[in-house]
């Protein structure tokens, strides 16, 4: 059980400032010494990761950390707040960020503009951490915008016409999201008189402007988390951005959108108000469409990154479904999927990157026999694929279990059927890649000289992050003594559901 104890702590601010400072320093140091830039780049993620245990320690016993700068930005001031939900996100971002940053260090090693890219990644991390540790809607908005604008640079990194077009698409949509979020922020302040989190429902019940704010939030966070029909930026961005940027987006940026949904629905509006007014049904409908739309589109894509992008849209649908069911099991399922999807999809993206580096191929139809050439990489890909289908004992099984229970609690078993249809489609778009990578006579011929297969794995620095993420799909369900992410998700769920009977 969570107690209401509140402790003031500067730790959240420190965790945001480290990557912010290191990122800026890396950009500056890059002018002089690349080595210094590399060190600062790694420091920008090692810092928060090292501080995370301290955060856990300070929060022991269910405390909530807060920090307020009332004078800094009127009218609300700048504030930070870390509860179990934020903690879940922060820990995920630190863990996942560490793995992706190591990969990015190696992946971008010889590419032009790498300093700018690394600096951008550090600043994006700072923005993401800021969003999930913000103590009020206005602070959240600031970091949200900061993160989005920086990420624009990462998408446009390759400077090709396609990359620029994708980045512009992202920029326009992100500006719409920003404006919508600002509008929602203002409307909330006008009606409720506050934009602070952690007060358990600030809206006076049943007013029309509250719905206007709700729609604004839907647009803002819907665009960020790529919910149908606001997903349009995502497939292009993932296809033309460098792989680490896509991995960063899928594991973190999307999840900040999801986090925004949770904060707004469960915290700002409060469970009671939303379930009385049934506004969640709007989100529920869109979540279902998102799942089907993403899965069906993924099946027909030949570009691997694009396939992963559409699959990501479908997976976001799972998460939104879990949020909008408004049941405790559904909430646990959604939060666990935030974690499970980050590891699983991150692994797939990093594998795609390693294959691109190793063979120069990005089309699914050309990947025949690649498993014989890069067995460990494709083994990780296989594990992540089987995870995506949701077979036990991998992570996504736990997600589907809780989402399924949540759907039944909600009283609609058809949502469970929808999840299973989507799982089947997952199998339909991942397993052929796995099969053709390892089996088939044609595949064998492509990668052999005589009878000997040429094994040529990606460099260890690329391979280890991939293997770590693949291992992560099973680590907490089988190897670790406790399923910590699940326990944390349960604690976060209890904080919201215990308050409202």
């Amino acid at each position: 059980m969570t107690s209401n104890a509140v402790t003031a702590s500067a730790l959240p601010l420190v965790m945001i400032l480290i990557p912010l400072g290191c990122g800026l320093a890396a950009l500056a140091a890059g002018l002089v010494s690349e080595k210094a830039a590399r060190l600062l780049f790694m420091a920008s993620v090692l810092g928060p990761a090292a501080a995370a245990p301290l955060l856990l320690k300070e929060m022991a016993g269910g405390k909530t950390l807060v920090l307020k700068f009332a004078q800094l930005l009127p009218p609300g001031g700048l504030s930070f707040r870390v509860d179990h939900l934020s903690l879940f996100m922060v820990l995920l971002f630190c863990l996942y960020g560490l793995i992706v940053f190591v990969y990015a260090l190696e992946f971008m090693k010889d590419r032009p503009g790498r300093i700018r890219f690394w600096g951008g990644m550090s600043l994006t991390l700072a923005g993401c951490l800021g969003v999930v540790m913000a103590g009020d809607l206005f602070t959240l908005f600031l970091f949200f915008e900061f993160m989005s604008v920086i990420f624009f640079i990462l998408i446009a990194h390759q400077k090709t016409p396609e990359a620029s077009a994708a980045a512009m698409k992202f920029l326009f949509m992100t500006i719409i999201a920003g404006v919508a979020l600002f509008l929602g922020c203002v409307l909330t302040y006008l009606q409720a008189g506050t934009v602070c989190f952690g007060q358990g429902g600030v809206f006076p019940a049943g007013v029309v402007p509250a719905f206007a704010a709700f729609v604004a939030f839907m647009v803002a966070f819907g665009i960020k988390s790529a919910m149908f029909p606001m997903h349009l930026w995502m497939p292009d961005a993932y296809t033309f951005a460098p792989i680490p940027a896509a991995a960063l987006s899928s594991g973190m940026l999307l999840k900040t959108g999801v986090y925004g949904f949770i904060r707004v629905l469960y915290d700002l509006y409060g469970l009671k108000l939303v379930s009385e007014l049934h506004w969640n049904n709007l989100l529920l409908g869109l979540a279902c469409v998102t799942i089907l739309y993403g899965s069906l589109n993924a099946v027909v894509q030949d570009n691997l990154n694009r396939r992963l992008a559409y699959s990501g849209i479908a997976q976001i649908g799972y998460i939104l479904l879990g949020i909008s069911l408004l049941t405790e099991n559904g909430f646990i399922g959604n939060l666990y999927h935030v974690f499970a999807h980050a590891l699983m999809k991150g692994c797939l993206f990093l594998c795609a990157g390693a294959v691109l580096v190793g063979t120069g191929k990005q089309k699914v139809s050309e990947l025949g026999g690649v498993g014989l050439r890069m067995p460990l990489t494709m083994l990780a890909f296989t594990v992540a694929s089987v995870t995506a289908v949701g077979l036990p004992p991998f992570n996504v099984f736990v997600t589907k279990w809780y989402l399924g229970q949540g759907a039944l609690d909600f009283g609609q078993p058809l949502f469970l059927v929808l999840l299973l249809v989507s799982s089947m489609l997952n199998a339909a778009y991942y397993l052929p890649i796995v099969i053709s990578a390892f089996l088939g006579e044609k595949a064998l011929r492509q990668h052999t000289i005589g009878r000997q297969v040429r094994i040529k794995e990606a460099s260890p620095v690329l391979l280890i992050p991939i293997l770590l993420l693949a291992f992560g799909s099973i680590a907490f369900t089988v190897v670790a003594p406790h399923n910590w992410p699940l326990e944390l998700a349960r604690a976060a769920a209890q904080a919201f559901f215990a308050a409202t009977p």
Partner: protein, 509 residues
Amino acid sequence: MYANLPALAALFPIAGGLALYFITNYLNVRIREPLALAISGTTLFLVALMFPPILDGQTLEAGYRLFHLPLSITFRVDGIGFFLSLLASFLWFLATLYSPRYLAHSHAHDRYYAFLLMAQGGCVGVMVTGDLLGLFLFFEFMALTTYVLIAHEEDAYSLFAGAKYLYLTVAGGLAIFFGLVVTYYLAGSVSFARPGGLITEPSGLALAAFIGFLIGFGIKAGMFPLHVWLPDAHPAAPAPASALLSGIMIKTGAYGLIRIFHNVYSLRFFEAVNWEICVVILASVTILLGSALAILQDNLKRRLAYSSIAQIGYILLGISLLSERALVGAVYHIFTHALMKGCLFLCAGAIIVQTGKKNISEMGGIGFHMPLTMLCFTLASFSMVGIPPFNGFISKWQLSMAALELNRPIFVALLILSSLLNAVYYFPIIIAAFFNRRSEAESGAHAVHGGHGGHTPPEISAPGPSLAGEAPWEMLVPTAILAVGCFIFALTPVNWPLEMIKTVTHGLF
């Protein structure tokens, strides 16, 4: 000490299979086959060790926090689980013994043995877990590892057959998952150990879960209309894998349904709602359709595959009649069919290896080249048709008696009709093999001697009866053991398996 045996028996071959892959890849290739046989044999031994407590009527139980899934997994072996896992391990041992000579011409041996052993772990695991979650876990594990066995040849046909199998099996797994989630929602538990079953109140959700289970286990069992993967998968897989697939793996679907009928729901529940009728009808259609289609096939393994569909129909019929005697017939038929169909597939494999022939129309006079193999084939066929004293007769007898007790003589007629059809599609093969000398002379001209398939250039043999084409002993011994198993128990003073089955099924009623 007995309590840990079930988990050990399921996990040992999985670990062993993985170890085998790396040992043979990096250390020593020559010990591959003996090691595989040793692992399979040890598993058989581990399962057999459970016999004394099971004989005392105990149930071996152990709960583990093995996985941090929402629930933990329990292992629990009662009589029926023990009997079937013993049968599975035994058949696996024989198939492992048979494999080296069959695969001599093939590729990727390391992969084959590793996945063969892992599939054994999955199959034994299905039968030794004490809850639906564990059953689902091992069921899926077995299904996925089996895919690699089916696609082993990696030609276009086996990849197609494998893909068909894989997608259907994933769909089946998801259907079972649906049932699993709903069962937990309704009952708050998924353990088989709760007396009186888990789901006790009829409701729409309970029906939906039942349909989910029926689809999931029906796909695995090859029940009409979900059997479509089976006729392709069996011919595509290597013969020992087909023998296992048909002999025991599709029976896991039937086993799952037994658990569903008796442990998830209960007999009293079905008395109230009569949902089992749809299984009865589907089983009857499966019997007729499988038999009828088997007649049309010229590819021997394909004919055997359709015959398996018909036979699984008997088993499902016996399960869904929900009387004790019918279940005895069904479980005895699982046992019988494992032996005889295993034997037939091993014979078919021997014929392919020795002569390269896959089609029945080319097999005239083959009995003169491979008399012992074809003798085994004949014995197994007799059992298939149900001639006394072969095993097939006993299971049909039990099923017929059960049908009469339930006052449904129509099923007796169905069984007789199906047996007739069995005769129609098995006896011509035997007659042609032993009596068709003309085609024997023709086929002799194509026979390959001493070779094990494609890479040896075919030698022209002198026409006339000879033993030169007989399969090597490593292949003959497992085949012969299975063939002898088809009748030996009827000749012993006590029919041990039958007595055992009567005891274990009594526990469910």
